[in-house]
Structure formats: structure tokens, C-alpha cells
């Protein structure tokens, strides 16, 4: 970049602006440098700490990183399809690694749903059901938390704390608590994800509701609308597309969450995947991964398409 050789002659006031600008940028640079140094120290420290605390160390295990791929590669690639669709395997020697046909879920005569599809449906149902109920509970909770809708500070305070608490509370513990009540299985997972969803969506929703245009609300109020009518005719039309869009985003997150909760004892495909990986069943693992991966992509794409329909080219937001 070529720079002018001579300093331009500045007026006294302009020079003041220039020096003020230089002062602020230099202090900002200082903050940036300090911030970067802190991050670097934290980074090096945590790499060492994580490596020391781990069972196997990074550089020691690195050459063996792909060892586990050996068991993952099946001796017969068509076995992946057989595992996916529960066809009997020619390698079946009675061990669990190849008992594909044993998991069939018969529905009608000889017609069966392959085990993994059934598990995937369970996981999906956990996610969808908890998202629907979470959405339905989060909306009224969000209206109770919104400053422009609920005038009472006490109610607002209560509703917000409920949201924050449900959001921050670990899902794992919700699942454990409900597993004691409802016996282990998919239903505690639903309860856990549902409660977390209420908190997460409630918090997002009230922020959206607080940002609405209040003129329609004044209009409804001016013709004597009750609070419910104000919500229904003034607030809802403004926020509903956004709310549903966030609900769909939550659905994407919940599909992943229900897989994870499944892996720690909530049933569904997560548990099967954890078992398959920890026991080293190559064909089964690949079949499960394929199914899970395709499902997650399908849900993400469907939800992205619907969100685009609802709110147009919305920015990509992550909301946990």
C-alpha cells in the first residue's frame, strides 16, 4: 500500500479527533493483545492438562489412531446392508456380532420392521414429542416472562427463573430422576428433553416477544381487547413464524440430544450404537452410523426448508 509522503495539514479540531482515535485504538489493541495472550496461555495449559488427565496420551496413541478402523471394516461389505435390514448373514456363527435377523420386529405376518429402523423411530419420536410439548409449554411461559405482555414483575421474575433453571439443569440428571420414577427406557428421556426444551425455548421466545412492534397491540387495546385477544391478534401474528422456526431448530438439536440420552440409558438408537462400538461389532456400527447420519441430515434439511418457508433467508442460529 502506498502512503502519502507528506503529512496533510490538519486543523486543530481535526487533530484532536485524530489523537483521540489513536488513543482509543491503541488501548483497544492492548486489550486485544492481552486477550490473545490469555487465550494462548489457557490453550497451552488446557492441552497439557487434558492430555495428562486422559487415560491414553495424544502422541502415544496417535500412531494407533486408526487401529480401531480395523474392526470397523467388515469382512464382507454387504453385511452392512444385512445388518441394516435384518437379513441373515452368511457369517452368522451364533455370536452377537452377526445375529442380524434376531432383532426383527414383526408387525404383520412375515412383514417386519428392521430393528435399527424401529430404534431410530423411537429416538425420533422422543425428539418430536418432547419438542411439541416443550413448544406448547414454552409459549405461555414466554408470554408470562415478557415485559411488554405481563406487567406484574413478580410473575415475570418467577417465569424467567423457571426458564433459566430448566435450561441450566443437566438433562442427564432429569433423565436419572425420571428413570427412578418411570423405570428406565424412552419415557424418562422424553421427560428430560422436554424439561430442557421448555427452558431453552422459553428464554428465546420471551426475547423475541419483547422485541415486537407494540402498535398492533395498542390497536387491539384501543377497541377494548382483553389480554388474551391482544396476545392472539397483536402479538401472535408477529412472533409465530419466528417461534415455529426456533421450534424446528430445537427439533434438530433434540434429535441429537435424544440419541445421546439414549446412549446413557434412555433406550433408542444411541444405546445400540454405544454397545456396538464398545463391543467392536463392525458391520452393526456402520449400519447404525449410516442410518443415524442419514436421519440427522434428513431432519436438518427438512427443518431448514420449512424454516426458510416460514421466515425467509433467516440467519443460521444455534440455540442450546
Amino acid at each position: 500500500m502506498s502512503v502519502a509522503q507528506t503529512e496533510p495539514v490538519l486543523k486543530e479540531t481535526t487533530r484532536e479527533i485524530v489523537t483521540a482515535w489513536e488513543r482509543t485504538t491503541s488501548s483497544r489493541r492492548l486489550y486485544t493483545v492481552i486477550g490473545l495472550i490469555l487465550i494462548a496461555i489457557g490453550f497451552v495449559g488446557s492441552v497439557q492438562y487434558a492430555d495428562e488427565a486422559n487415560a491414553g496420551h495424544f502422541f502415544e496413541r496417535l500412531p494407533h489412531l486408526f487401529d480401531f478402523l480395523q474392526w470397523l471394516i467388515p469382512s464382507d461389505w454387504t453385511d452392512v446392508w444385512r445388518a441394516l435390514f435384518d437379513r441373515a448373514s452368511p457369517l452368522d456363527n451364533g455370536s452377537e456380532a452377526y445375529d442380524f435377523a434376531a432383532g426383527r420386529v414383526y408387525v404383520w405376518g412375515d412383514f417386519y420392521i428392521p430393528e435399527y429402523f424401529e430404534l431410530m423411530i423411537t429416538t425420533l419420536n422422543i425428539a418430536v414429542l418432547s419438542t411439541i410439548f416443550g413448544f406448547l409449554i414454552a409459549v405461555p411461559l414466554a408470554f408470562l416472562s415478557a415485559r411488554n405482555i405481563t406487567p406484574s414483575p413478580a410473575i415475570r421474575f418467577g417465569a424467567r427463573r423457571v426458564c433459566e433453571f430448566l435450561r441450566a439443569f443437566p438433562e442427564l440428571v432429569f433423565a436419572g430422576l425420571f428413570a427412578a420414577v418411570l423405570s428406565a427406557g424412552p419415557v424418562p428421556a422424553i421427560a428430560a428433553i422436554l424439561l430442557h426444551t421448555i427452558g431453552a425455548l422459553g428464554k428465546l421466545f420471551y426475547e423475541i416477544i419483547e422485541n415486537i412492534d407494540m402498535k398492533p397491540d395498542e390497536g387491539v387495546q384501543s377497541v377494548g381487547g382483553t389480554r388474551l385477544e391482544r396476545i392472539r391478534f397483536a402479538a401472535m401474528p408477529q412472533v409465530l413464524p419466528n417461534l415455529i422456526s426456533y421450534g424446528l431448530l430445537r427439533l434438530e438439536i433434540n434429535v441429537r440430544a435424544s440419541t445421546i440420552i439414549g446412549a446413557v440409558g434412555g433406550g433408542g438408537i444411541g444405546e445400540e450404537l454405544r454397545l456396538a462400538i464398545s463391543r467392536g461389532f463392525g458391520a452393526k456400527t456402520l449400519a447404525l452410523l449410516l442410518l443415524l447420519f442419514l436421519t440427522i441430515i434428513a431432519v436438518d434439511q427438512l427443518s431448514a426448508w420449512m424454516r426458510k418457508k416460514l421466515v425467509g433467508e433467516h440467519q443460521f442460529l444455534l440455540a442450546h
Binding site: A168, A180, V181, F316, L318
Partner: protein
């Protein structure tokens, strides 16, 4: 609300036809979606067999578990020996220690019987036990082959052929056999939170412990009392403070490291993936699919594979978060880059700046606040995520919580860990909000 009359309606119809003549989707879409959702819910209720499960649920366990979060019980057992004396025994691992002194709530009477401060008072004698609660007294004879209740037993006394159960509500219960009374007295709070019964400081009042630490003789000649006290606290057998805090720290480190690495790797990739920065469609879409892939595989699967490769621990957890964050942050960064204003870049290019300088001065100032905000947000939410993947062995406090829950009688420890975790989550929520509003200004995401 006020109704409009026909003329007004016609007038509105003439001016805004689209309000009253709506498309089929606008008219029937909403009811269809509602009906569809209802049908789905019915299906799901059938699928999970919810009515049966809810009917058979043990809701009382919910209360019991929650009670265990904040309370504990002491279970002395009174046995009438053949020579007529009554002796007290405590189960192993009692919170009072292996060889406890008689607590103040058990009083020895002059005739060798005992009075226990539980409910309205329980008196355990050689031949009978008198329970006072809910305003009445019930006498249970314990001398025969089976315990017998004198008179009609009230609702809170359950009689089985060879055993009588007395329910004293929140304060505890009694289980009475012939010649033996088992008392379960419930206390609120967390017992032995600082020192466990094996510690030399156990059971000493605070003042004595402080004076021992400050000026007492060394209890263990090899170390000072302060370090002994800290050691006893840190390795407290019931609460395992040291282990819990270490694991909690691991969870925070996992989230920090994973997110930071994800940001470092995602940052340059996002520039290559953004359509308006790198004009190579093939590269753009390949990278975007790569981001989608990393995100879709998800923390869980990465975690399962990495724990197999590196063994359980925070390294595997950080790796799992890192691999997923490359996808998430890469995608977020790329979309932020694609939404920038092009004019600053054109201006800098027009004065002949190098491509790097164009990015540095034309693009970075616009996106840096957005990047920082999104990264902080991800870090914060990854602390929560790291808790869960910990439970599959990827390091951190998750596994510890999960194990404590599985034994089903360590709910106090669960409560302790959840409390710490909530504090951490709230704290980082606050820090990240402060940092974000400092970097970005009030409003973003």
C-alpha cells in the same frame, strides 16, 4: 371486541381483497397442521404406551429421591439382650462413624431404657416400646415371639405378622421386631461435608478445629495440621471433593479447548467456504458439506470413537467437541462472512491493497464481533454438552453424576454435583453475556 357492520366489511373487502380472499393454504393450513400434530401426538402416546406407564409410575419415589437430595438418616438399632440390657448398634458406614458416641437425641434413662427424640418421642424399654406421634401414644409389646400393638393401631402404624412399621413422616420411621427396634431418624442437610469420620478433625467443633490448625501440635508428625485438614477435606470419602472438583474442572477445560480449537480451525476454512470471499463454487460447496458432515456426526459419535482411540478422559471429550465445533463454527462463520457489506472491501481493493490486507481491513472488522459472540455462545453451551458426553466416558463430571445416580442412594452427591454445575453454568452464562455485550454492543443473537 367491537364488531364491524356489513358496510364496513364491504368497504374493507374492496380496499384489501387479500384479507378476505385467502389462498387455500392460508385458509386450511393452520387447522391441518393442528390436526396433524394432534394425530401425531395420539400416535406417539400409543407408541410409548404412555397411559400405562404414567399409571404405573412410582411417583412417591420422586419425593423420596428429592428428599434424599437434602437429607440423610441415622439408623441406630436397639436390641434387648437375654440379660435384660439394651445395646445400640449402628450399621457400617454410618454418618456418625464406626464407633460413635451416643448422640444427644438418644437419652439413657436410669433403668437402662432409652428415650429417642423422634416424632413426639419414642421410649424403648425392655418389654415394650411407646411411640408418641400425631397427638396419641401407641404401645407395642416387644417381649414375645412377635411384636404386638396394644389396642387398635392408628393409620401410621402398619402391622405385619412378625414386624410393626411406624411411619413418622419426614422425621423418620421405626421398624419393630421381637426384642429389636430399628430407628431411622431423618436429618436435613449434608452430613460430614467437611470431614468424614476417619478424619482426626471429625466431630470437633469449628473453634477447636481452627485452633488446632492455627496453633495445635501436629496430629500427623509428617505434615502440618493445615495440610492435614486440607488433605482430609479434599479426600473426604463421602463427598469426594477433590475428585468432584477435578472432574468439574475437566468439563470446563473440555468445553474451552474444544471450542477454541474448533474456532481456530473453522476460521480459515470459513473464508474458503464463503461464496463472496473465495470465488470457487466447487471448493465452497465441498467445504460446506464438510461442515454439515462434522456437525451431523455429532459429539456423541465423535466421543464414542475418540474414547476408543485415546481411552476415556478429557482429551477424548475435547476432541469430540472440537470435531463438532469445526462444523458448527465453520458454518456460522461462513454465513456471517456471506452477509457482510461489500463496500469496505471494494474501497480497500481500489487503493491497491494485497488480498490479505483486503481481508484484514475490509472483512475482519465487520465479522470479528459476530465471530466472537458466536464462539462465546458455543463455549457456554458446550459446557452443558460436555456434561452429557462425559457420561459415555469422554471425561469430566458427567460420568461421576451418572454413576452416583445409578447406585440410587447417592442422591446427595448428585445434588452436590448438580449444584456446582449450576453455579458454573450460571457463572459462564454471565461471563459470556458480559463479554459479548462488551464486544458486540447490546444486541446480538
Amino acid at each position: 371486541m367491537t364488531m364491524i357492520n356489513t358496510f364496513d366489511r364491504r368497504d374493507i373487502e374492496a380496499r384489501f381483497p387479500e384479507l378476505l380472499h385467502r389462498t387455500r393454504w392460508q385458509r386450511f393450513g393452520t387447522p391441518l397442521v393442528i390436526i396433524g400434530t394432534l394425530l401425531y401426538v395420539l400416535y406417539a402416546v400409543w407408541f410409548f404406551n404412555l397411559p400405562k406407564l404414567v399409571a404405573e409410575a412410582h411417583w412417591e419415589r420422586f419425593g423420596i429421591n428429592l428428599l434424599q437430595w437434602v437429607s440423610y438418616d441415622v439408623q441406630p438399632q436397639f436390641r434387648v439382650k437375654d440379660n435384660g440390657t439394651i445395646d445400640i448398634r449402628y450399621p457400617r458406614f454410618s454418618v456418625l462413624g464406626d464407633d460413635p458416641k451416643q448422640p444427644a437425641w438418644i437419652k439413657t434413662e436410669t433403668d437402662g431404657s432409652y428415650t429417642i427424640d423422634i416424632g413426639g418421642g419414642v421410649h424403648i424399654g425392655r418389654t415394650e416400646t411407646v411411640v408418641t406421634a400425631h397427638g396419641t401414644s401407641v404401645t407395642i409389646k416387644t417381649a414375645g415371639d412377635v411384636p404386638t400393638v396394644v389396642g387398635a393401631p392408628p393409620a401410621w402404624v402398619g402391622v405385619a405378622p412378625d414386624n410393626v412399621q411406624v411411619d413418622l413422616g419426614l422425621s423418620g420411621r421405626l421398624s419393630i421386631d421381637a426384642n429389636r427396634v430399628k430407628v431411622v431418624k431423618r436429618f436435613f442437610g449434608w452430613p460430614n461435608f467437611i470431614f468424614d469420620p476417619t478424619s482426626p478433625f471429625f466431630g470437633k467443633p469449628t473453634g477447636e478445629v481452627v485452633s488446632l490448625i492455627v496453633s495445635g501440635d501436629r496430629i500427623d508428625p509428617s505434615q502440618s495440621n493445615l495440610s492435614l485438614a486440607f488433605d482430609n477435606f479434599w479426600n473426604n470419602m463421602t463427598w469426594q471433593h477433590g475428585d468432584v472438583w477435578t472432574k468439574l474442572f475437566q468439563t470446563i477445560v473440555m468445553a474451552f479447548l474444544g471450542t477454541l480449537l474448533g474456532a481456530i480451525v473453522g476460521f480459515p476454512l470459513a473464508f474458503l467456504a464463503a461464496r463472496n470471499i473465495t470465488r470457487n463454487r466447487l471448493l465452497n460447496s465441498t467445504l460446506k458439506r464438510f461442515f454439515d458432515f462434522m456437525r451431523s456426526v455429532d459429539m456423541l459419535i465423535w466421543g464414542l470413537f475418540l474414547t476408543r482411540a485415546f481411552g476415556p478422559g478429557p482429551l477424548s471429550g475435547s476432541g469430540a467437541i472440537f470435531l463438532m465445533e469445526v462444523g458448527s463454527l465453520g458454518k456460522l462463520y461462513a454465513e456471517a462472512l456471506e452477509n457482510i457489506d461489500n463496500k469496505p472491501r471494494e474501497g480497500i481493493r481500489s487503493v491497491g491493497a494485497s488480498p490479505i490486507a483486503v481481508q484484514r481491513y475490509g472483512v475482519l472488522p465487520q465479522v470479528m464481533p459476530v465471530f466472537a459472540g458466536q464462539t462465546l455462545y458455543q463455549w457456554e453451551s458446550n459446557i452443558r454438552g460436555a456434561t452429557i458426553i462425559g457420561a459415555i466416558g469422554a471425561g469430566g463430571i458427567g460420568l461421576k453424576i451418572w454413576e452416583a445416580m445409578r447406585t440410587n442412594d447417592n442422591w446427595q452427591n448428585v445434588a452436590y454435583m448438580v449444584l456446582l454445575l449450576l453455579i458454573v453454568v450460571y457463572f459462564f452464562d454471565m461471563v459470556s453475556n458480559k463479554l459479548r455485550s462488551a464486544i458486540v454492543g447490546e444486541k446480538l443473537i
